[in-house]
Amino acid sequence: MSGAGFSILIVDDEAQIQRFLRHALEAAGYRVLTADRAATALRLIGSESPDLVVLDLGLPDLDGKAVLGQLRQTSEVPVIVLSARDDETEKIAALDLGANDYVEKPFGIGELLARIRAILRPKRSGEARDELIRLGTLTIDRPAHRVARHGEVIKLTPTEFELLVLLATHAGRVLTHRQILTKVWGPAHTEDVAYLRVFIGQVRHKIEENPAEPTLILTEPGVGYRAKA
């Protein structure tokens, strides 16, 4: 199926979760590796070079964040964090430490597959820097700084445009407030979350069919934003 060729390492100490994930991901066409301890996982990442890691934050031998820290010293492999915790700060910490996305337990397999696809897609297509980006019914023309819906031009300020482009080029992936603020406004503005909310509100007002129920830019409560995949 769609996942042909990619290998995914599942790191979780719960045998039952490994079981169904293995069956599901194999059925989706991925090659599956498993590890139930951080030490095994780090070794496998070194020797097998998986294309993506699904990492449970609650491992018995090492804290999930420590695993991320060690992993990022040697590898750029994309990581999706599995968390049983509803704690936003935990997710943000994981994302700041270099995790690419997260899925909160319990989750449907569709949700995890969507996250996996969103991360692996640019690699596969090699068209991430395409001049024309599509986001739902929107067409974003980067060189011309122009956004249109069904041929109808939508006027955006330069900052609004930059914000939209950032989200659209990471479609399907979560971006933390801090990541967005750093990229769009610069490192001096990493704490200006209120600022960000205002701009997101303005952009939504212009691009969403129904700004009250946004479908293109989704809020990840307490963490950040995610553009529709």
Binding site: Q16, I17, F20, A24, E26, A27, K105, P106, F107, G108
Partner: protein
């Protein structure tokens, strides 16, 4: 009634001005008479000038032994006797020389001075003894207050020592429903006059120091001091002492009341600390509950939800074996979830107070039920049931007992290796029934034995999934049934654990 404490510990009050008793008067007469006799006998051998010295000796002895007034009387008697018997003209009181008057003055001065000095010394000695007694009582009071663990004990120690040092009565009144009532008194059953009750109220409302009316005046007889806004007031009635001696007692009383206040304060802090500890424990319990819910409920849910969505998503694309395995994982996790939820519900029920239904039950029936359940849950394991009796009838709750026993067997099976059996033994000894669950697992480390019955506690090895509630539920049930659960690990020197439930025959 003589209110003075029967076994007074204070010395009798002494004073240098105290009037002589008749015994002392006779003594003065006898001393002077003896001197006259000695003087008459020695008249031919002594020079006449020595005679006043002889009388001076008599005056000094009388004065030292019996005090100031005796000394004065003895010196007058001595002057008259010497004049009468030894100064010419003999046998008259006629004084012919001015020098003889001087003799009288010297004798008087010697008697008075000696009596005064001796009296003062005696007073000092008495005061020192009073001080010593007061200090001793204070020391005892401090020692007994230091070990008090309840306000009632503080009140009792305070009244006892106050009454001792005051040589009188003492009591503590505490506020109850807006009124002051006597909580502790010495002598017991003391009743206050209305004016004393009023003084106590004033001391309590205003925090003022209420002192008794002077003797002979209308008013209260007790002194009252505030102990604390919630602790009430202390009252005492010194009966004998006054003046210097009472000053000592007054110091001691103030010190003891202060000690009692500190002791009461200490008790309050101790109570606050205990409450803070309890609240921290509740908080820890809540955190443990949340983390348990988060992890132990979400993990099976994750497998169930993930497995079901996988099957829906891929259906036929999955090999039959993978489909079957996913379905099995879903089933197992659903069962696990059901166990957690039922454990949590049990715990909630236990926390909320059980409504159990005591009835005459056969403990063996409950044990058979629990063993059967365990065999169904662990088909590969061996669980044996042993009992010497045909039936063991007690008054208890069969459903709860079976649940407790099942949890014990479940725990034993979980923590021992699959090839080891678990024994269940029911025994009756005297008026008690014992249920023992024995396993040959790794045993429980000594440091963890105190905690295994705590809610959400899981052993350090932590290899088994669980809520950490199973044994907590056992303890909750057994306590509700009036029994006790204990453990022995290792047992018979071979490792493994015995969990023992001890139940009374009849539920109170």
């Amino acid at each position: 009634m003589n209110p003075r404490a029967e076994n007074s510990i204070l010395p009798p009050a002494a004073n240098w001005r105290s009037l002589p008793q008749s015994r002392a008067l006779y003594a003065a007469v006898i001393m002077v008479g003896l001197t006259v006799a000695v003087g008459a006998a020695l008249r031919d051998h002594l020079p006449a000038s020595s005679m006043p010295l002889l009388f001076l000796l008599a005056v000094l002895i009388a004065s030292v032994r019996f005090g100031f007034w005796t000394g004065i009387i003895a010196s007058i008697l001595a002057f008259l006797a010497e004049n009468f018997f030894f100064i010419e003209p003999h046998f008259t009181f006629h004084v012919s020389h001015v020098g003889d008057w001087l003799t009288l003055v010297v004798l008087l001065a010697a008697g008075a001075t000696t009596g005064f000095l001796v009296g003062r010394l005696r007073e000092e000695a008495d005061a020192a003894q009073t001080r010593a007694v007061a200090l001793e009582v204070m020391g005892q009071c401090a020692a007994s207050l230091a070990t008090c663990e309840t306000p009632a004990a503080v009140f009792a120690a305070l009244t006892q020592n106050l009454a001792r040092v005051s040589d009188g009565q003492a009591l503590v009144l505490v506020p109850e429903a807006g009124r002051l009532v006597i909580r502790s008194s010495l002598p017991e059953g003391l009743v206050l006059e209305p004016q004393d009750s009023d003084a106590a109220e004033r001391a309590f409302r205003r925090g003022s120091a209420e002192d008794p009316a002077a003797p002979g005046w209308a008013g209260g007889r007790f002194a009252f001091r505030l102990l604390g806004e919630t602790d009430g007031v202390v009252g005492y009635r010194p009966l004998m002492a006054s003046g210097r001696r009472d000053e000592q007692a007054q110091h001691a009383r103030h010190a003891m009341i202060e000690q009692a206040r500190l002791a009461l304060g200490r008790l309050t802090y101790a109570q606050d600390a205990a409450e803070a500890r309890a609240s921290a424990e509740r908080e820890a319990l809540r955190a443990a509950l949340l983390s348990s819910l988060s992890h132990d409920l979400k993990t099976p849910l994750a497998t169930i939800l993930g497995g079901v969505t996988s099957l829906r998503e891929f259906g036929d694309a999955m090999p039959a074996a993978a489909r079957g395995d996913t379905l099995l994982a879903i089933e197992q996790e659903a069962e696990r979830l059901a166990r957690y939820v039922s454990n949590l519900l049990h715990m909630t029920r236990l926390k909320a107070g059980l409504d159990f239904h005591p009835d005459w039950i056969d403990v063996l029936d409950a044990a058979r039920g629990a063993v059967a359940r365990a065999r169904r849950a662990y088909p590969q394991r061996i669980v044996t049931l042993e009992c010497l009796h045909e039936s063991v009838i007690i008054r208890s709750d069969a459903v709860l007992l079976e649940q407790a026993l099942f949890n014990l067997i479940d725990n034993a099976l979980k923590f021992s290796s699959p090839d080891q059996p678990v024994q269940v033994v029911v025994a009756r000894e005297d008026a008690l029934v014992f249920l023992r669950v024995k396993d040959r697992g790794p045993g429980i480390p000594a440091a963890e034995q105190d905690h295994v019955f705590d809610p959400f506690y899981r052993g350090s090895s932590h290899t088994q999934s669980g809520t950490g509630l199973g044994l907590a539920i056992v303890r909750g049930i057994v306590q509700a049934l009036g029994g006790k659960v204990t453990l022995e690990s290792p047992w018979a020197g071979q490792g493994g654990t015995i969990m023992e439930v001890k139940l009374p025959e009849a539920l109170n």
